[in-house]
């Protein structure tokens, strides 16, 4: 099976994904890295609804992201 690369915003709740990269400016990339979201990190989407924020679990903690930011995070499912 070929792994698909897509924005985090497209991942369904319950799915596990690995971060491939962040397509954003320096500030946001740094901010996400500070919270442990760097390429290679495995995360699980626990909630994702439109409209509304996306809740993910990574490194044992929960992170809530807006859809705009989640669009900029590329993951592999």
């Amino acid at each position: 099976m070929v792994n698909q690369c897509m924005p985090l915003a497209m991942v369904s709740p319950g799915e596990v994904a690995t971060v491939v990269g962040v397509r954003a400016g320096w500030g946001l990339t740094r901010r996400l890295a500070d919270m442990g979201l760097v390429p290679g990190t495995t995360l699980r989407v626990t909630n994702s609804q439109m409209p509304g924020p996306i809740v993910i679990e990574l490194r044992g903690s929960k992170l809530v992201l807006g859809h705009g930011i989640a669009q900029k995070i590329m993951v592999e499912v």
Binding site: R31, D34, G36
Partner: protein, 226 residues
């Protein structure tokens, strides 16, 4: 008159800083505000071994970069007011994330005491933490804590004084960024070290790294010196 020194409590949000603060200061704490900003800052004091220790509870932060106000407040306090000891409080059940701040405090060359809080929770989650190996790796004393039950409080009090008196085993840890970056860090560091005022104000290596990161606050602050 009792001798005085200042300690700061730093740590991620929800790592138990305020519980530790209350354990240390008992009923003598009072609540205040940082002038001009809305981030809460608590101050208190306690007496221990003839010292009057002033405790500052900093806002909980994940890192010491400069994009949010609470981070700037925490960082400025450590960089500018230079507390004698910084107690870094970690949530042991989430060490990986918490150690990120620790690394930044190490780079800031703060006089650290590392408090491994919530050790009971970490254990119940099945984590085994080598408390004897950590001080060696982090270059600072490590105190296991369960702040909600006041376990380890006495040890923490002792280590804080030890670090203040320079009696604790400390080791300068240098984080290596790879040859490509190190070349630039070392170059900048040498320039900064040559400037008496800058090298007095900031740890030169830390400043070099922040300049390479193009940290806005830092750039603004030293703008006049360049």
């Amino acid at each position: 008159m009792a001798k005085e020194f200042t300690i700061a409590l730093a740590g991620n949000p929800n790592s138990g800083k305020t519980t530790v603060f209350n354990n240390l200061t008992g009923a003598r704490q009072h609540v205040g505000n940082w002038p001009g900003v809305t981030v809460e800052r608590k101050e208190g004091s306690y007496l221990y071994q003839g010292y009057n220790v002033k405790v500052v509870d900093l806002p909980g932060v994940y890192s010491l970069t400069a994009y949010s106000l609470d981070e700037v407040v925490a960082r400025n306090f450590i960089v500018e007011e230079k507390p004698d000891v910084v107690v870094d409080i970690l949530d042991s059940s989430n060490l990986e994330r918490n150690l990120y701040l620790t690394v930044q405090l190490i780079e800031l060359e703060a006089n650290l005491v590392i408090a491994l809080n919530m050790l009971d929770l970490a254990k119940s989650r099945g984590y085994q933490i080598d408390v004897n190996r950590l001080p060696e790796l982090l270059g600072a004393p490590v105190v296991p804590l369960v702040a909600t039950r006041k376990e380890g409080n006495g040890e923490l009090l002792k280590e804080i004084v030890n670090v203040f008196e320079g009696k604790a085993a400390r080791k300068k840890i240098k984080l290596y960024y790879g040859s490509e970056l190190e070349e630039h860090i070392t170059g900048l560091e040498a320039l900064i070290s040559g400037d008496e005022e800058l090298s007095y104000q900031f740890p030169p290596r830390w400043l070099a790294i922040k300049l390479l990161e193009q940290d806005k606050e830092v750039l603004q602050k030293i703008g006049g010196n360049l």
